[in-house]
Structures are given as structure tokens and as C-alpha cells.
Subunit: 163 residues, 2 copies
């Protein structure tokens, strides 16, 4: 039972690490430029605070994921890891929501505010951002599963099911 | 000890309920219009998907907060409440990040994408959104404290501190 639990946890952590690393790399390499009316127009992730926050959050989650992969089997830090998992899940959720809100404006614009969509001009940039968001979304879901799993496993002995 | 724990939890839940309710009401009542070059320009929260998501999330959190206030002392649902607290905290974090990213563009614009700031035209709308975001932020922090508190209290017996 303990061994199955450890294997499931390590598999989930590997998945989460891969997803966050992919999200970071794909977002950092996103770059495209276009020329509209002789005006050079360049799009990269550093142009937007939300995308910068996304890269920083995914990079932190990758680093933490790698460390947690080696430490999660040690019982002395198990309590700290359970709490840090929740914090990292919140960080990921927050960064994805911010980046998604900004990407939505980039994709569809907002006619009420007079903001035009930019994906028509810089399609390569938009594709990269979409890819990075999908990878980040997968990572967030893995962390959610990891949290619910460890909460259920950790909480189980405290609340025995009544017949 | 159990009584102190219950009083702290109820106080935190009351705070969180007040904050989410305030955030919902302030965001829903946000409305301003301006006339630029004979063009009527109206700003309300329904113009933005991120702000709509914010109102829905804060309303759900208010409803849950009210129910949890009455149920949290019953031990039969304690386990469910601990898990739902984490889910609500993530929902709040997500909605605040999305609304904040959109509000940041409204406040400062994004010169790279050609999006102009709108707060100069509709200051009353921007003030309401700022107020709603501050209330939502307070609610998210209260839920974070609530989660860490219940995690520490619940996890404590499982991981005794070694001398």
C-alpha cells in the first residue's frame, strides 16, 4: 500500500515537472513580429506583465517540482511538502488565470474598450502562448490531483468512515 | 483548546464571507459612462469575461462561506469542508488573477499591442473595480490562512515533532 502510494506520487510529480518545464520553455521562446503600415510590431512575452508573471511562476514550480521529486519520500519533510504543494498549486492557478485573461484579449480583443485583437498579426506568438497555457493548465490539474490525493490519504486516518 | 479553535475558525469564516460579499456587490454595481468624440462609451463589468468570472466566483464563495459557517462545527462534514476550503481558495485566487490582469490593462494599457488605458474616461468604474479587487484579495488571504490553519491543526497529530 505504501509502495503503491509512493509510485503514484512520483509519477504525478514527474508529470507535473514535465508540464511546468514545457510551459516555461514554450512561453520564453514565443516571439513573432509583423509590419503594419510601415510600423514594425514585435510581440514577445516580456511585453506583458501577466506573461512575465506566468514565466516566473512556471519556473518556480519547475524548480520546486524537481526538488520535491527527490525529497517527497523522506518522511521528515512530508508535512512541509504537503503545504508547499498547496502553495504551488495556488501559484500556478493564479498565473494561468492572469495569462489566460490577457491571452483572451489578444485573441478576441474587447470592442467596448477599443482594444483590437493582435493574433491576426502575430499568429506564431499566439500559437506559442496557447501551447504554453495548455501545458500550464495540465500542470495545474496534476497538482490539484496531487493535493486531493495527499489530503485524502493524510486525512483518512483522522476521519474513519462510520458504518 | 477545541473551543479556541472553533472561535478562530468562525471568526475567519465571518471575515471571508464579509469580504467576498463586498467584492460581489461592489463589482456588480460598478458602472460608468463617458462621451468621447460624440461616441457614447459605457463601462460595466459584463463587458469583460474576466470580470464576469470574478463576480461568479465571488458569489459562489459567498454562498459557500455562509453554508460553511453553519456546518463547520459538525464533525461529520469536517473532512469535506477542509477539501472544499482548498477548492474555494483556488477559485478565488484564479478569479482575482484574471480580473487583476484585465484591470492592469485598463489602468495602464499596453503600448506594444496598441491597447489604450480607459481609466481616464471612466474613473468611477475603475474605482469600483479597484475596491472589488481589494475586497476579493482580502478574502483570498483569509482563505489561505484558514487553509494553513486547518492543515496544521489536522496534520499535527500525524507528524509529531521530534526533539
Amino acid at each position: 500500500m505504501a509502495k503503491t502510494k509512493r509510485i503514484i506520487t512520483i509519477l504525478l510529480r514527474l508529470l507535473a515537472f514535465g508540464a511546468t518545464l514545457t510551459a516555461t520553455v514554450v512561453m520564453v521562446t514565443s516571439h513573432d513580429s509583423a509590419e503594419v503600415l510601415n510600423l514594425k510590431f514585435s510581440a514577445k512575452y516580456t511585453n506583458s506583465p501577466a506573461f512575465k508573471f506566468y514565466v516566473i511562476a512556471e519556473a518556480i514550480a519547475s524548480g520546486y517540482g524537481l526538488i520535491a521529486l527527490f525529497l517527497c519520500s523522506k518522511s521528515s519533510v512530508e508535512r512541509l511538502i504537503v503545504i508547499l504543494d498547496v502553495v504551488v498549486a495556488m501559484l500556478l492557478t493564479s498565473s494561468i488565470s492572469a495569462a489566460l485573461a490577457e491571452a483572451e484579449i489578444g485573441k478576441k480583443g474587447n470592442s467596448h474598450a477599443g482594444w483590437l485583437p493582435i493574433c491576426g498579426q502575430v499568429p506564431k506568438f499566439c500559437d506559442h502562448v496557447t501551447g504554453a497555457l495548455i501545458a500550464g493548465f495540465a500542470a495545474a490539474i496534476v497538482y490539484l490531483v496531487l493535493n486531493l490525493y495527499s489530503l485524502l490519504v493524510v486525512l483518512a486516518p483522522l476521519f474513519p468512515v462510520k458504518p
